[in-house]
């Protein structure tokens, strides 16, 4: 009976998806992934209820939704601890420091050749591993998580912003020179605006990195609040619906900050060819 139900859902869904995917325009582009998401949710729900999958293995979407509503205050507290403090502050400090370092390094080709290889090296390392060291240095609270995030986000910004500062051509620089513009005027009015698309690239990349860093660093020790803390303790207590609620929140925060940054980028770099098409 239920197998039949699921098979019907799969067959109907596949037919609907392929019909929708052939449509041009908005409907096909946005409708198809939405329908696919809805189908996955429906299959998940039906399977959980009908096969009586234990709650400690996989809670149904309805149970997760109920957990979200039920534990709104907890979610809000975790959000304040992890996102509003550790992630936001760490992201701002790390990206800001990376940008400043890029401007400073910009004046010396020698230093750049020394630091940049080191930067891409560090970017490839599993930096979240420094979390226990940062806990030792900055304590259990959000400061140590922010420190991890600063280290994680510094180098991507440094590497990207340096590439951005080098993006101006000789023609633009010569024009500024012929206007009698000095180093700072050229930097502020030509080279930094030109570097903005690169900077936003790093900011978007860093927003995901910061969220990962904030959550994973909490696995190593934290006061009794925070998204990573909640995930690790509720997993141990088999409250998987709360864990899924936290994961849902992490997903929403991640994609929302990415989308917000993309909107700001559009507003700030409206002159860039990629937005004028």
């Amino acid at each position: 009976m239920t197998v039949l139900e699921l098979l019907l859902l799969a067959a109907g869904g596949a037919a609907g998806l392929s019909l929708l995917a052939r449509r041009e325009g908005r409907l096909g582009q946005v409708g198809t992934p939405l329908l696919f998401g809805a189908l996955v949710l429906a299959a998940w729900q039906i399977a959980c209820v009908e096969f009586e999958i234990p709650r400690v293995l996989l809670p149904a979407p309805s149970a997760v939704a109920a957990a979200i509503v039920r534990s709104l205050p907890i979610l809000a507290a975790d959000f304040m601890q992890t996102v509003a403090h550790a992630v936001l502050i760490g992201w701002l400090l790390g990206s800001g420091a990376g940008l400043l370092a890029a401007v400073a390094l910009d004046r010396s080709a020698f230093l750049r050749r020394g630091v940049l290889p080191l930067g891409s090296l560090v970017s490839a390392m599993p930096i979240v591993g420094i979390a226990p060291i940062m806990v030792m240095w900055f304590g259990f609270d959000w400061q140590s998580k922010a420190a991890v995030i600063v280290v994680m986000t510094f180098f991507p910004m440094l590497v990207n912003a340096t590439a951005g500062l080098e993006a101006t051509g000789t023609m633009e620089r010569d024009l500024m020179h012929s206007y009698g513009a000095g180093y700072w005027q050229t930097l502020l009015k030509l080279r930094l605006p030109y570097a903005l698309p690169f900077v936003f690239n790093a900011l978007k990349l860093n927003s995901t990195l910061a969220l990962i860093g904030g959550i994973v660093a909490e696995f190593f020790g934290t006061p009794i609040v925070g998204m990573g803390f909640r995930i690790s303790t509720e997993v141990a207590r088999m409250n998987l619906d709360v864990v899924w609620a936290e994961i849902t929140m992490a997903a929403v925060v991640g994609s929302a900050s990415f989308a917000a940054l993309a909107l700001v980028e559009r507003a700030v770099t409206f002159w860039h060819p990629s937005f004028r098409a």
């Binding site: 096909g28 020394g114 978007k204 696995f219 992490a250």
Partner: protein, 288 residues
């Protein structure tokens, strides 16, 4: 200056500066603890010397770290739990297995996405969106749930490593398989190439220059995934287990050694991808 000197000299200077700052930091951070432990009539100079050889320093001096790495790598048999090589191999094997799973599934799905419009429209948005989501957050849940139904050790770690490295491989591969422009595809058609030929002689070779950078990202992600997957169960072996037990018992040298080993593994993985790239370039007569 030679090209070699242009590249190496700046790097050497920066490295020397980093090590000097590191020593200064070690002296500064460890000073208080050392002063408390030292005898009352110890001079500042004696305390400064002491900061370089603490058992549990806040920041170990570089030579301490080198000594710790050396002893944990060379002075224990490879199969003993005191050997860092043993822990590194446990983590590296899980990461590698996950990477292989991700490679097979990722390339397979990318081929499907490029050829089947329904798959493309249904999945691509979710795959791209998933890159803005901290997927690593599900690691503890996957480990514990799989543990409940009897899977422990290698499998959960490899699954998480594979899950993380799956997404960059799919996006890179889809981009790569789509990279041949219409003119090249038309040329293939004038040769009356079949669909299979179009794939094996145009799309597949063209995709490699997109796949390789994705592989670097995927390899480091697989490593991070394997390390983080060792945290929630308090695994006995692996670099993540070393990090965790080091932080429980305040064994800073152990934490730093595990971190350096993890970074070394990441560099090794990237080196292997680079080597693969060189081999590929040579086989293709000088370009990718």
């Amino acid at each position: 200056m030679t090209r070699w000197g242009r590249a190496v000299l700046p790097l050497a200077v920066v490295l020397v500066v980093v090590i000097a700052v590191w020593y200064a930091g070690a002296a500064w951070l460890n000073f208080d603890v050392t002063a408390n432990l030292a005898e009352d009539d110890a001079t500042t100079w004696e305390i400064l010397q002491g900061t370089m050889s603490q058992d549990r320093p806040l920041l170990p001096a570089p030579h301490q770290l080198v000594a710790e790495l050396f002893s944990s790598v060379f002075e224990h048999p490879i199969d003993s739990p005191k050997s860092l090589i043993y822990h590194a191999s446990v983590t590296a094997f899980a990461a590698f297995l996950g990477f292989l799973i991700a490679l097979a599934l990722g390339i397979g799905l990318a081929i499907g996405i490029v050829h089947v419009r329904t798959l493309d429209r249904s999945l691509m948005l979710w795959i791209i969106a998933s890159q803005t989501i901290p997927v690593l957050a599900i690691a503890p849940m996957v480990v514990v749930v799989l543990g409940n139904i009897g899977f422990t050790g290698l499998l959960p770690k490899s699954l998480i490593a594979g899950y993380l490295s799956f997404f960059p491989i799919v996006t890179g591969m889809v981009k790569g398989l789509r990279s041949p422009d219409p003119m090249q595809r038309d040329l293939m058609r004038t040769y009356s190439a079949s669909g299979l030929h179009l794939f094996t002689m145009l799309r597949w070779p063209a995709s490699m220059s997109f796949l390789l950078p994705s592989l670097k990202v995927a390899a480091t992600l697989a490593l991070v995934g394997a390390i983080v997957a060792e945290l929630p169960t308090g695994a006995q072996a692996g670099l993540g287990a070393r990090l965790l037990s080091g932080s429980y018992y305040g064994q800073t040298l152990q934490i730093w050694a595990a971190l350096f080993m993890a970074s070394f593994l990441a560099l090794l993985a990237i080196g292997v991808v680079d080597l693969f790239r060189l081999v590929l370039i040579r086989r293709r007569g000088g370009r990718l």
